[in-house]
Structures are given as C-alpha cells and as structure tokens.
Symmetry: C2
Subunit: 269 residues, 2 copies
C-alpha cells in the first residue's frame, strides 16, 4: 500500500486536513503516517529516512503533505524520495500580491494558543461538562445554545465539540421516558426558548445505539425509540424549536449545522 | 477590514484550516466569514451576492477559500468579485498523474461520517466522560492513556480532544492537596503504569487559572501551586512517567504531543 505522510513543525493538523481532503477524492487506500513537531534538522533527517524506507518497502512513491516554512527543514524533507505537496508554496505569492504585503513566515502555529481564544474554549468545555445531560438547570442564562433531545441522539458529543472547536457554551438536556406521557417544555427551558436547538434521530438507528449499551431493555426497544422520537419531534414542531436529524451526520457536521442554523459565531481566532 | 470567506458544501472545516494556515502568515487582520453547507445553486448565488456586498462595503477585494467539487456551484462562486483560492484545483491533476487514476469528486465529505471511525469516537467520548477527574478508577484496563496531573493542568480538555479528534480513550486522574504529603502512585495507577502520561504547568500560570475560579483560596495560592507542581514533577521523574509542560500549548498541541510521545495511533480514517 502506498504511504501518505502528513508532516509539520506543529500539530500537523493542517497537513492532515489538506492531505485527507485531496486523497478522499481518490478511490484507493493509503497507509497514513502523521508526524508532528518536526522542529529540528535532525528530526527532519529521520523523517526523510522514514519516507525513503517506505518507498523501498512498498515500491510506490510516498505522497508527502507538509507545510514547513523553515527553509532548512523544508529542504531536507523536499530531498526525500517521496513526491511533495505543499500548498503554502503555491498560494503565498499570489496572496502577497493581492494583499500588497510580504508574508512573515514563523514556525507554523495555526493550531497553537491564540491569546483570546484559549480561555474561551476551556471555559466553554467546563460549561459543557457542568451542564451536560440536564445535570444543571440553573445556569442556562450563560448558555449560547441548549441542545435538547432523547438519550443517545448526539447531544453530549456535539456540546463538547462546539466547546472545543468553536468556544461555544452548549448545555444539553435530555427528554426521558418519564417526560413522555404528555411531553411539554419544562419551565426552565421555556424561559430560554430562543436558545433551544433540538436533535432527533432515526428510531432504527437509535435502537441500534441503545441496544449496544443496554441490550434487550425497554430503553432500547424499537417501540420505545419510535415513541420517544415521535413525541420530541411533535414538541419541536409545536414549540417551533429548530431541529436537526443527526442520523447521517458526523459530530463535525452536526456542530457546523447548529452554528449555521442558530447564527452563532465562533469565539476563536 | 478586508473580508475572508471560507465556503464549502460540507462543514467548511477544510476551507477554514486551509485559509487560516495561509492568512496566519500575514501580519494583518481580516473579517472572517465561514459559510458551510452551500449545497444548491440558489445558496451559491446568495453567497456570491454576500461576497460582492462585502467588496462594496470594504472597498477591498474579499479573499475566498473554497473546496467545491461540484462544477455548477463552483462556477457561481468563482464568478464573484472576490479572489478565489482553491487548493483542490491546484493539486488534483498532479495527484492524478502520480497515482495513475482519476479523481472521483463527490460532494465534499472530508468531515462526514466514516463507517468505522464514528462509533470509535463516540465510545471514546463516553469513556472520557465516565473516567474524567478520577471519577472512576476501576476501568483503566480499557484506557489507551491515563492523564495525571494537578487540578487545572489541562487534563480534561485534552482527554476530550483526544476522544473527539483521534478516537482515543483517555482517562484522567487528579493529584489533589490530600495526596501531597507523601505523593506516591496509588496502586490502581501503578497497575497501569505504562499508560500514564503526566501533565504539568508553570505554577504562576496555575495560580492565575485557579484564581479565576476560586479567588483568594488556598487552592489558588502561589505557595500551594508551587508545592503541588514540585511534588508531581518529582513523582514523574521518580516513576519515570513521561510528562509535558502544558503552559504554552493549546489543547491541539498537547494532544498531538501526547499522541507522538505515547506512540498511540488515531482510531479514525
């Protein structure tokens, strides 16, 4: 299998995103190697040797995605037996011309601490944890958004992703079996109705997920899942709460859709 | 201020990472607009109008980072008054030549659900939550890594990021004031010593963080913070636990460094 390398003097997140976006267009498999924090000439030489070994092993030219701005390190990596894809190189000059200023390459720090964003994100993570799963219903005034939905519809991972990625304070509150007889918005949610965002999910998928956690329970039964989903969707429509069916979406997609629908802006840059 | 647009038919995460990596090289400010899920010609036209309005408003040509593969949508966006940066366009042909196969552009889904990765990540998030802050010490056999450190050294956000981003099951355990008299590894950690990874932090920074939470407390005092940090670092060295000073690092960097040091591989692709 052909090797694909994602290399950087930082986290290598940018190189990974760049490389994956491209390789996902091709209907073939790769062996992936992510190598972050290549900050010295010695490490760069080791990486070059590793790339060359992969070439010998597989007989196929490795693909190398990198974003080095240090010219000495770059030269070492560029001297490997792989083929190099470096988007910075392609785009910096056109951008310099457009902006009328020169780039000031520093060690590559896209995913390092940004003064104002860091505390926001940690605070948002703490908020999400303190307000997860209805564990605290008295602090919704500080929420940017309150996710509601049945158990296992994606509330918790989405809340945490919104916090970590966007610095958004997301509380989440579950509607449980006890609520279902005559499902209404509790008063502590009604008071913050504009912040509510509903998640829903295909009942069959919900059954599968719940069955993986509590096999053969009422909680996981098709009947129960169908009923719960029907009730919450009815509530969303009655109360005009915007909602999203999460069945076919990743945490990233759910979070991006919530940002879009609610008009929230990231607290990060 | 000049506008920078990040646009996609998916989450726009790739466009953001791509654009931010480039713009972070320039010592100037931009007004950022992220527009995900531009999936129809109508939406594309709206976005084009928005870009054109930003041009009129600021008098500066907007920068437009996008990754559209649908030719009809792309044509609409490319017809705006902004300047277009599209890295797919630059790199697809060289990659096709290298791989000897044609790209199969589908709606752009780098950050969508990948069959095997999704459950891994949700399971890892559940694991991180259930094993956060020493709340469960009986399930460390299922941990990929156990982060240890004093309160507010970065354990919880790092555990969650490792789960969400890499699908890694990270438990975390705090050393508290009560442990400090004669700090030793508790037996439930000793039994999983190879999984331990220590976090430490500059005592001054720790004081600041703790003071923001519990002002003027013993917990936040310089003396207490210095003592706790000194004791845990002594323990890490005695027990040969690999450790990292998190003071100047983002959650992304801490997580990438933990992955690198522990040799763990992401459960995602």
């Amino acid at each position: 299998m052909r090797a694909a390398f994602y290399i950087s003097d930082g986290t290598a997140i940018t190189s990974e995103v760049f490389g994956h976006a491209l390789l996902s267009l091709f209907p073939t498999q790769f062996e992936h190697f992510t190598i972050p924090f290549v900050e010295t000439l010695e490490k760069a030489s080791e990486v070059r040797e590793k790339i060359n070994r992969e070439f010998k092993r597989s007989g196929e030219t490795p693909l190398v995605f990198h974003t080095f701005v240090n010219p000495d390190i770059r030269e070492i990596i560029d001297g490997c037996d792989g083929v190099i894809y470096n988007f910075l190189e392609h785009f910096v000059t056109p951008l310099e011309n457009q902006l009328g200023i020169k780039a000031k390459p520093k060690a590559h720090r896209t995913h390092s601490i940004h003064e104002n964003s860091y505390d926001n994100r940690i605070e948002a993570v703490n908020y999400a944890l303190a307000n997860d799963d209805g564990s605290n219903i008295s602090d919704y005034e500080h929420a940017d958004v309150i996710l509601v939905g049945v158990s296992r519809s994606g509330k918790t991972p989405s809340s945490l992703y919104l916090a970590l990625q966007y610095g958004i304070k997301a509380a989440n509150y579950p509607f449980t079996d006890d609520d279902m007889d005559e499902l209404k918005l509790p008063v502590f949610l009604k008071n913050h109705k504009k912040k509510l965002f509903g998640l829903t999910i295909d009942p069959l998928r919900l059954t599968n997920i719940r069955d993986g956690r509590m096999s053969n329970s009422k909680y996981a039964s098709s009947r129960q899942c169908r009923m719960e989903v029907r009730e919450v969707e009815k509530l969303y429509k009655q109360e005009k709460i915007p909602f999203l069916n999460t069945t076919n979406f990743s945490v990233e997609e759910i979070s991006a859709k919530i940002m879009l629908e609610t008009g929230l802006h990231r607290h990060k840059y």
